[in-house]
């Protein structure tokens, strides 16, 4: 009798299984390809998107942003606000209430001690935490009880959602990382390659810069998720090859960041095996103008404020002419297709922050650019290049190596040649350009060129930290080991004042006004030349269900919900 019912039950399960991936692991195996391979699974030690996103399937933050940029509780019961009492009235503390019953993948309970430990881990000054900015102004993190954590800030924090929110600030397990504090952090290979987590998957094998294999976390909080029993996260190759493996050969189910010629992508999507998904976030492909002198003859003072101002880019007329000579719509169409749109702002999203004050540049106007330069006294010389007082408008324009960027460079070079500006193009391998090696002359921080181009963005929806990038203190120079994000070497006390004002303002509309003003100041003073508001472009196979592209957090944020159609 018992035997029989078991058999019937098994038969029923067999019959039902293909119809709906009801239970954990029913959907089998899923393959994800990131053409940049993950090198570590600890986002506190690496800021690379590939590392943050691969680890987001294993370790999780307390709250996340959803696809619309709204904050959603993840490991907590609700988002603390002033209204619900989670954020103190004076905006100096925030209290998170952890959902009960969450277990680590090793079966131990997830508690407030882990959260406190994570804060200590990242804030240890010898540890070199990459996400330290998330913890700025934090003075204390304490466990009120097993499931309650209070974060205290040194000053009123209108936006207290820095720590523990979003894929870049997940919680790591205290028991596992206890011996990895400070200087020892990088040496804990085993922990960094296989952290215990609360996420839907856990690591079974990690090969640095190659491949990660994972399996469903048996202790995941939703007993029916994830649908996939195993997962492979493969790295290597290039964007086109990754797109091909999803869209044309269907070997992989999900491919990330397909910055390739839109014509090729469209053709690949035509094979009918996969779907290209894109969504706009905060990413802007922009040119960083160098306001200091990059002349190699300056030696150590090259591209520093001490080295003196740039011979011609400090002339506002030149920067304006350079900007309006560019046809941004063509750049967007050629390089990004539907996933790009022309923009004149460095802060194009979320919508409340988007300024319209700078839209002059949306339309290319070569004649006007020429007129501006004529007026400013830059006369066309016999070689077709404008010059004034012996200074020629000759620009070294660098970016990372990427087919779309090189196309953009070629187009810009042509337009600039039409206004009498000579351009020399240079491209540098992305791993060197963004690599941060202090002795390499080719990093984007050093900016040993007149103009450099790349995309920058911020996760989440609050622009405060992002807009702080262009304050005087952020200028990279030998004194701070070339650390800093103010590549244009822009320094304006008025801007710094706005920045300070922003961090002290709580009202959302007022914050928007200040952020827009900062954006407009940067644009009108020509510290950078924004080109294209870039969406994220990814692709998933037609058999993969549940993909929701999220540009405010990790793309793999809802991997637990993925299913096999």
């Amino acid at each position: 009798m018992r035997m029989k019912s078991i058999l019937i039950g098994a038969a029923a399960a067999l019959a039902l299984a293909p119809a709906a991936n009801a239970g954990r692991g029913d959907a089998g195996h899923v393959n994800i390809i990131y053409w940049q391979a993950a090198s570590i699974l600890n986002p506190f030690l690496s800021g690379g998107t590939k590392d943050v996103e691969s680890s987001s399937m294993v370790i999780e933050p307390l709250a996340r942003y959803d696809e619309n940029g709204n904050m959603v509780p993840w490991l907590v019961t609700e988002i603390p606000t002033v209204a619900n009492g989670g954020v103190s009235e004076d905006l100096t503390s925030i209290t998170w209430k952890i959902s009960p019953g969450i277990l680590w993948s090793d079966g131990s309970p997830f508690t407030s001690a882990d959260v406190v430990f994570t804060a200590d881990y990242c804030m240890d000054e010898t540890g070199g935490c990459q996400q330290l900015a998330k913890f700025s102004d934090v003075t204390n993190v304490e466990a009120l009880d097993d499931l309650t954590v209070k974060v205290t800030f040194g000053k009123p924090k209108p936006f207290p959602y820095g720590p523990f929110v979003g894929g870049e600030s997940p919680i790591i397990q205290k028991a596992q990382f206890a011996d990895c504090m400070g200087a020892k952090a990088p040496e804990c290979t085993e922990q960094n390659f296989g952290p215990h987590g609360t996420g839907p998957f856990r690591v079974t094998e990690f090969r640095a810069n190659d491949v990660i294999s994972m399996e469903a976390n048996p202790h995941y909080r939703d007993p029916n998720k994830p649908a996939f029993a195993t997962l492979t996260f493969k790295g290597g190759g290039d964007a086109a090859a990754a797109a091909r493996s999803v869209l044309e050969t269907a070997e992989f189910d999900y491919a990330w960041n397909l910055q390739i010629d839109p014509a090729i992508l469209t053709q690949m999507a035509g094979a009918g095996k996969g779907t290209v998904v894109s969504a706009f976030g905060t990413g802007v492909e922009r040119m960083m103008v160098n306001l200091t002198n990059p002349d190699a003859a300056l030696g150590d003072k090259r591209s520093t404020v001490e080295g003196g101002p740039h011979p011609f880019l400090t002339d506002a007329a030149v920067r304006r002419a350079l900007s309006i000579a560019i046809d941004r719509n063509t750049l967007a169409e050629v390089g990004y297709g539907a996933a790009g749109k022309a923009t004149c702002n460095v802060l194009p999203a979320p919508a409340i922050y988007a300024s319209t004050a700078n839209d002059e540049c949306l339309v290319q106007d070569i004649a006007k650019a020429n007129a501006i330069l004529d007026e400013a006294g830059w006369a066309v010389g016999s070689d077709g290049v404008r010059a004034k007082d012996g200074v020629r408008l000759s620009i070294l324009y660098q970016t990372s190596t990427n087919a779309v960027r090189q196309d953009t460079q070629a187009l810009v070079k042509q337009w600039w040649s039409e206004i009498g500006v000579e351009t020399e193009l240079k491209n540098i391998s992305a791993s060197v350009f963004f690599g941060g090696d202090q002795s390499s002359p080719d990093t984007f921080q050093k900016h040993f060129s007149d103009i450099e181009m790349y995309t920058n963005l911020f996760n989440g929806t609050d622009p405060e930290a992002y807009m702080n990038s262009w304050t005087c203190a952020e200028i990279p120079n030998p004194g701070n080991n070339w650390l800093g994000s103010n590549m244009p070497r822009y320094c304006n006390p008025a801007y710094d004042a706005l920045s300070a004002e922003l961090s002290g303002t709580a009202d959302i509309d007022e914050r928007a006004r200040i952020a827009k003003a900062m954006n407009d100041m940067l644009m009108q003073e020509g510290a950078m030349i924004p080109l294209v508001h870039r969406g994220r472009v990814s692709a998933h196979s037609n058999t993969l269900g549940g993909v929701v592209l999220n540009t405010w957090d990790s793309e793999l944020w809802n991997v637990a919900d993925w299913t096999r159609n």
């Binding site: 086109a240 090729i264 390499s440």
Partner: protein, 301 residues
């Protein structure tokens, strides 16, 4: 009927003989013809086909061959024909100069090592050393150290050209040296060399008259491979972002850029690929012909 006496030939220089023999090799003559044709084409072509290879006409992007663009256009609407012409100048120059440099070095070191026993050990360890240094780090270090200096001295294109040619030249001579040394060692045992030595032929003449002509065939093979190798290494450097500026077309770069458009515009990949292959093929046939022509056993036949 020809008069037999007319066949009594006056003594001629060796090179005239070599040339006579070379002329009889159909493949070699065709190869040489093609090579000269390609050289002339890329040298003169840009004056006849005056479209700027870097001129962008975005409305005319990804076009198939037409009267206006005989080989079509790329993804930015640049004319492929003028790009192939411009690219050929650089690729051929890089290929030939780098190959010549590596052959000269390789033959020089190989002959010295094989001929002078005293130098053998030291030179072969030097060769080992160069072989052991992986090419890429060496190139990267060299390029990082010298790029800015050369760029300042010669401008971005010439500076990089000198650097690339030099870098490829001094990192690819080792195989030639090893092979030449081996051949010279074997040759030294042969009687004609012993005979020449015994009549007191000085080493310089010995090497030029007796050794070099006899190691010509491996050198010729190395030369053929060398040109292809240089052209491809240049494209690999561009691939790593260390080569010429991206708006500076070379055959390797054109091929690389068009690879992703393989299914979209298949004709685009053909031109640079064909240009490289045919050039290498023609150099190979020239090498074959030259080897035959230099071989006295065949010449006598």
């Amino acid at each position: 009927m020809t008069d037999v006496t007319s066949d009594i030939r006056p003594a001629r220089s060796q090179w005239a003989d070599v040339w006579d023999q070379f002329k009889t090799h159909r493949g070699a003559v065709m190869g040489m013809g093609f090579f000269v044709f390609v050289c002339l084409l890329v040298a003169i072509g840009p004056y006849l086909w005056t479209l700027d290879p870097n001129f962008i006409d975005i409305r005319a992007k990804n076009q198939s061959p037409s009267m206006l663009h005989p080989l079509g256009t790329d993804q930015l609407g640049r004319d492929t024909f003028s790009q192939v012409l411009a690219g050929g100048r650089v690729s051929l120059l890089v290929g030939v100069v780098a190959m010549a440099l590596s052959l000269l070095l390789g033959t020089f070191i190989g002959v010295l090592a094989g001929y002078f026993k005293r130098l053998d050990g030291a030179l072969m360890r030097l060769t080992d050393l160069f072989l052991a240094l992986p090419l890429l780090p060496l190139l990267l270090v060299m390029i990082m150290l010298f790029r800015d200096t050369l760029r300042a001295a010669f401008g971005p294109e010439t500076g990089i050209f000198l650097l690339i040619v030099f870098a490829i030249g001094i990192t690819s001579w080792m195989n030639t040296a090893r092979i030449v040394r081996g051949d010279v060692l074997a040759l030294k045992e042969q009687e004609f060399v012993l005979a020449a030595q015994s009549i007191g032929t000085p080493p310089y003449r010995m090497i030029m008259r007796h050794i070099i002509p006899n190691v010509m065939s491996p050198i010729m093979v190395s030369a053929t491979l060398g040109i292809a190798n240089a052209i491809i290494t240049e494209s690999a450097l561009s691939f790593l972002g260390l080569g010429f500026p991206s708006d500076f077309p070379t055959w390797g770069r054109l091929l690389f850029d068009s690879t992703n458009f393989m299914t979209l515009n298949p004709e685009r990949v053909i031109w640079p690929g064909l240009a490289i292959s045919l050039t290498v093929l023609s150099v190979n046939y020239m090498g074959d012909g030259l080897r035959d022509a230099l071989d006295p056993r065949i010449r006598g036949r």
